[in-house]
């Protein structure tokens, strides 16, 4: 098929950006969206133009690197990562807008590549269980009820792509943060740091300049891994509980 692409081009963090228009032809419906962009880039290189920079790595929907806003939707029209989106979701003759994640906490590095290191700093603030190597008890010493284990897993599936932030009208990172809080706080192993974890991670999230949550739910709709909106409710509950407990001390 033949497509018109309107792509955000921005030389570097300090440069002004703008949408540029390109035509691509001979696109197969079996191609992934990123393979379509590969095709464009091969042509650009041979024409002596700068290829479009975009983040990608595993191309199987798990590393969380790919991050495109396609026709206004984070990761495009299907509920999946950009790399798992295929061209069969588009029609011959379509015009497709391709933009980077837009959020003040995710500054653009080049073209469609943004800086998501704020996510790493939220995890560094408390998104872990302190268990130095060698100090672990026998794995079966603490059984975990299956519903709790399943709840933990469901939230641990987050790939840290940032679609939740990109989709949120406020640029909030609530779903990302609450997914990790929910994963670790439900487990018996996570209990000793349950309060400090949620307080520290939320504080870091605020410090990074992410917006506030107004429960519009766009985040959960955009999430390629289906992290539920209830995760945010759960984090609010955890935060309230921790704040009260801190007040009593």
């Amino acid at each position: 098929m033949k497509l018109t692409l309107r792509v955000w081009r921005q030389r570097n963090a300090d440069a002004e950006g703008a949408m540029s228009t390109y035509e691509v032809d001979g696109i197969s419906s079996d191609m992934s969206f990123l393979e379509m962009l590969d095709t464009l880039n091969e042509e650009l290189i041979l024409n002596g133009e700068d290829p479009v920079a975009f983040d990608h790595d595993c191309r199987e929907g798990i590393c969380g690197a790919c991050s495109l806003v396609i026709n206004g939707d984070a990761h495009g029209p299907e509920r999946t990562t950009t790399c798992q989106l295929h061209m069969r979701s588009f029609k011959d003759g379509d015009t497709i807008d391709i933009e980077p994640w837009r959020a003040s906490a995710f500054p653009v590095i080049k073209d469609l590549v943004v800086d998501r290191s704020a996510f790493d700093r939220i995890i560094q603030a408390g998104g872990y269980i302190t268990a130095p190597t060698g100090a672990a008890p026998e794995a079966h010493a603490t059984p975990v009820p299956k519903p709790d284990a399943d709840f933990a897993f469901e939230h641990a599936e987050c790939i840290g792509c940032g679609a939740c932030v990109a989709a949120c009208p406020n640029g909030a990172a609530m779903l990302f943060t609450s997914a990790k809080v929910s994963h670790l706080n439900v487990l018996p192993q996570g209990a000793p740091e349950r309060e400090t974890r949620v307080l520290d991670m939320v504080a870091q999230m605020d410090e990074e300049g992410f917006g506030g949550c107004t429960l519009t739910g766009e985040c959960a709709t955009a999430c390629p891994k289906g992290i539920p909106l209830m995760s945010i409710t759960n984090m609010n509950k955890e935060w309230l509980r921790a704040t009260r407990k801190a007040g009593k001390r």
Binding site: R11, D38, D57, G61, R116, I123, Q124, G127, Q189
Partner: protein
Amino acid sequence: MTIPAAYTDYATGAPVVDAKAPTGPIEQRWDTRRFEAKLVNPANRRKHTVIVVGTGLAGGSAGATLAEQGYHVVQFCYQDSPRRAHSIAAQGGINAAKNYRNDGDSIHRLFYDTVKGGDFRARESNVRRLAQISVEIIDQCVAQGVPFAREYGGLLDTRSFGGVQVSRTFYARGQTGQQLLLGAYQALSRQIAAGNVEMHPRTEMLDLIVIDGRARGIVARDLITGKTDIYIADAVVLASGGYGNVFYLSTNAMNSNATAIWRAHRRGAYFANPCFTQIHPTCIPRTGDHQSKLTLMSESLRNDGRIWVPKAKGDTRPPNRIPEDERDYYLERIYPSFGNLVPRDIASRAAKNVCDEGRGVGPGGQGVYLDFAEAIQRMGRKAVEAKYGNLFDMYQRITDEDPYEVPMRIYPAVHYTMGGLWVDYDLQTTIPGLFAIGEANFSDHGANRLGASALMQGLADGYFVLPATINDYLARNPHQEKVTAEHPAVREVMAETEGRIERLLAVDGDRTPDSFHREVGELMWEFCGMARTDAGLRKALERIPQIREEFWRRIKVPGSGEEFNQSLEKANRIVDYLELAELMCLDALHRAESCGGHFREESQTPDGEAARRDDAFSYAAAWEFTGTGEAPVLHKEDLVFEYVHPTQRSYA
């Protein structure tokens, strides 16, 4: 124009000896080595800087653990976050000899299965240590909050994998690698916050700094600014993964590359068994020339899925219209006791054979069916969904076919490399102070890796082995010379790196980096893939220097070196693939036997199984670099089997 010379001959040098391997009863060797290793006083550890390259299971766990011990760690990854290393894509699970099932498992059995599965081309001492540590890994990961699958009673669930008859694989749905990696990443994050790890994301190692014969640092490029810089340390740990991307199409991440290990090889680290690559039997077949990578379907699917092709050649009926008695469940037929759970090398070759016979299915006949109809009937769709749901979804997304309704189509693809930098029992390369862990080394899997063993090895190396053995090196070399950017050896490495980048940008030819990568990859798949012959390998060895020559004449890299430039990153990695590919072919040519994933057509049993030649090839081949396009020198490490007697592998 002169045609670049090819090499097919090589010199044999002195044998390479693992001087750190302890002797005595195999059960005690790891404890013996740990006791004999010198320690560094906790107060002195912070004075030592250790560089770790890579943040996958091996690198992430090593960085976190070394920092917990008190060392100053400086760590690098090319990704934008350490959480994205390609270990994250491992699906099926991690082996551990816990024997929770009471099904006859033991440390000795895991050791035995791994040596046998590797077709007797791995070191017994290393594999025994791996099996021993496996049980500690599960404890460690559970303590970190890794959400493994559990039974209703709250205890851990396990499943079976290829090449074994016990159920010892722990898993987190089809995302075990992701969950284990996030565990290591979170431990690493805690150390970054504590100031014990200085983390450099989006920074790629481009060369190794060796001073007075010791590894003392690296040259790395900041991928955002393009600036190359030097980083000095007391020891360097490479955890940069394997080199499967030499083949262009593989299940590796797009940016996984061989530059760190290849540059170390060029600086003096021997490269062992480069031809040992694993072709995974269950990947989604390619659909066309646009294909940029291949996607794996977890081996765990072989627990319940049945593999078959039509009995008749050229049978183009849809699978559901082919009656039961006209189907050939060939793995169950040829290997009745292991059935669909034979090791990967055997399953891959069997798939190739039926396709070569003209019985393959799907476009181009390059595929076999993996059928869940029977499992859905037996367990119900719900149970199948709970076990494999995310894999089925992924399959459907890529192929637009519903595997609950029609059988999956699968075909083998390059997945893992058993070869890598030669290391001794301490995981130290032939360059003192340079260590290699995880897939980057060659140590534990011999000629074929069993499923769910890569995660085990990566974490064993990173959490437990390296942190114990690196002490010994640092304790014996407490006061190394201070090195600055002005040191002549450092300036030389910097100049070479910058020179290479300038040269890549200066050619301004008419071919893209991808076009060269694709060309060398297709050549490797054809001649150094699932089946290899003397004639084919010689053809590849003749062709590779020509591609290399053309590369330096016609490569086109847009932009400059002082900016974010993904084409430059790619081109620079291809420079190394074009040398490594040659070594892989030479290694495959010289090893005139079949073993594990290395199948030489000249060496097979009457029924088409791999015929090992222990009389001539019971050794690890460690190659020494002598120059680009020059024949390397072979150093043999003889393999001794005291506990698992080499036999013809039988899974029938």
